[in-house]
Subunit: 412 residues, 2 copies
Amino acid sequence: MRDVFIIGAGMTQFGKWLDRSMKSLVAEALDEALPDAGITKEEPQIAFVGNAAAGLVTGQECVRAQVVLREYGIGGIPMVNVENACASSSTAAHLAWQAVGGGFHDCALVVGMEKLYSTDKAKTFAAFGAAVDVEFLESIKQMLKAAEKTAGADAAASGAKRSMFMDFYAMAAREHMKKYGTTKEQFAAVAAKNSYHGSLNPKAQYREARTVEEVLASPMVAEPLTRLMCAPIGDGAAALIVASGAFIDRLRARGTPVDPVRIAASVLRTGRDRTTDEPDPVTEAARLAFAQAGIGPKDVHLVEVHDASAPAEIMIMEELGLCAPGEAGKLVEQGHTRLGGPCPINVSGGLIARGHPVGATGAAQLYELTQQLRGRCGERQVKGARVGLAENAGGAVRADPAAIAIHILTAV
Amino acid sequence: MRDVFIIGAGMTQFGKWLDRSMKSLVAEALDEALPDAGITKEEPQIAFVGNAAAGLVTGQECVRAQVVLREYGIGGIPMVNVENACASSSTAAHLAWQAVGGGFHDCALVVGMEKLYSTDKAKTFAAFGAAVDVEFLESIKQMLKAAEKTAGADAAASGAKRSMFMDFYAMAAREHMKKYGTTKEQFAAVAAKNSYHGSLNPKAQYREARTVEEVLASPMVAEPLTRLMCAPIGDGAAALIVASGAFIDRLRARGTPVDPVRIAASVLRTGRDRTTDEPDPVTEAARLAFAQAGIGPKDVHLVEVHDASAPAEIMIMEELGLCAPGEAGKLVEQGHTRLGGPCPINVSGGLIARGHPVGATGAAQLYELTQQLRGRCGERQVKGARVGLAENAGGAVRADPAAIAIHILTAV
């Protein structure tokens, strides 16, 4: 296979956009990405479009890509609707990498898009329930309730209306606390850091920097998760232009400036039945990604991870091998992962502050890495960033993520 | 890119399976496809799973592939949920062809699956409505109603509860009749032929051979379409094992017999805004597919087309270049496309008789071509078949198909 590059990126601010359609959000992302790549809307040769919940939230199934892209004036080319829950658009990026890397196309369009806000909130919650095996929805809910009860008296305090995924995260967080002595304050430190990062990002859904104390004092969602430790619901779109070296050469030959970053690794995995000795799927995906890029965790200058909840960021740090198991909490408290620290994590604000319109999140992570490696991030720029990693996870089947996508991007 | 082969194929009988889950249907298809390829469930390295309507019919969104494949005992590998309306699983096959042809994987699994029957019929109809731009659903319906009114008195007779797509087909059929003098009897001849083919196929949903008279006498759905000219609603699954030559060599080295067919062309396109002079998207996709395979329409020994309605088969014959515009109706009446004729079309029974569980249809077409090119089709075997073409279309945006997939398979 040949080298593959991202040559253009665009995204909307993430937020609550009840008055805007998915078409309008995608148009805004494309209006940034296409000129950024120096190409017209006639030039992408294939489109991969990630979306998770439109079927259940807006009723638009089957041809989501075609509906939004035809409206924008893109047609004729192959269009693929890709769905992998919260990892939908990183899966789309993986397929674009294959289509270009395999020599089938020279320029591919990746779109991630989601509208989660609905005037009918039941639809939004139904969408989350569809990211697990719906045949077992009731037994999963009962298992989570039982686990919460076992967790003790504090759990009784929790009871906010929430996505079932926050119960999964709460259960995993309690286990991490028990096993490693991780503290609520450390989880709060993740959320505070990401909110600070979000305050520096004009595309972030939440732009207010919060203190550890504020995070801890916010309403309990599911012990030990407070509201400010959880990613919000959101709407938004992100787009990437993925291209071959030959395509870049042609652009330059016609006088178009190109500022590419290289996709050094693209790995997609799913969970599986395994013995307790085997690595978890994120660790396995990271091992494959580092091998593909020919580097190790210490070579990475910035990381975007799937902090759907603050404890997840701590667990993912360990699963990715950025630190030893049980060490992540302390590193976060010490500022290791804050902008200016040795390994900044989620300088975009992460899912917690930049926001998490699920189908758009993976592409938004790659947007952040692309702009960081190009040195275009202003106040939140990671100085000297040359290597970035994005970890995006989606859905759950039998307690493991249904999809894990890891990308490593490098400056050219 | 390197050569890509189908080395295993499986499918359920299509039908009304209210008492069976998608998991059970997919397991049956895999239980045929994996042994057919001579591999275990641990051997596929990536899975592409096409489904159109589960989100709206069963509530299962986001992680449909993972839910059914984990249940079957397949995990770890990358899994991609692919959606392109009625072309979902031919799109999945296109991606498998890219993944293997580009050298990313040596063995890919393609699954098409659908459960359209629901005890709540409204859900089934909602699923069809989601294959167009839902923002314009009401105006599309009004346009179709107006067109039917213009068609005259006979139209008033129609009024059965039906998918809106049958109104699209009826409108196109009336235009074809007006332009070329195509007759209702010719449409009925397509349906009668496909029902005869279906009577020879143990996997077909309908196995009763119907006469032209019976087709014409069946209840009117939308002028000129009678019920027996329309594909039924159905449930079913189909699976393909796609592999590289290197993988086949390894299988043979271990003593496993392999009976491959080659994917000589795989093309995916979508409609686009175009002038009246430009070819329609099926014609354009066919041109690309024939160029990729290095052959022309006359070199094809059998064809599977997307006969969601009988008139569609006639129009697609012309769009594919199998005959000149306006000639297809006569050729059908003359038995040209019947088993034993010079260019048999839909010897599986097509969508009309084999059935049309939408997400499974594309893979089922490729199942038929694979088994025909291997000479395994018994009573419905096309003698000497060495080259087969499958045309699968999905959804509609602005009156053009949202997705068109064309595959050409050749015997090895």
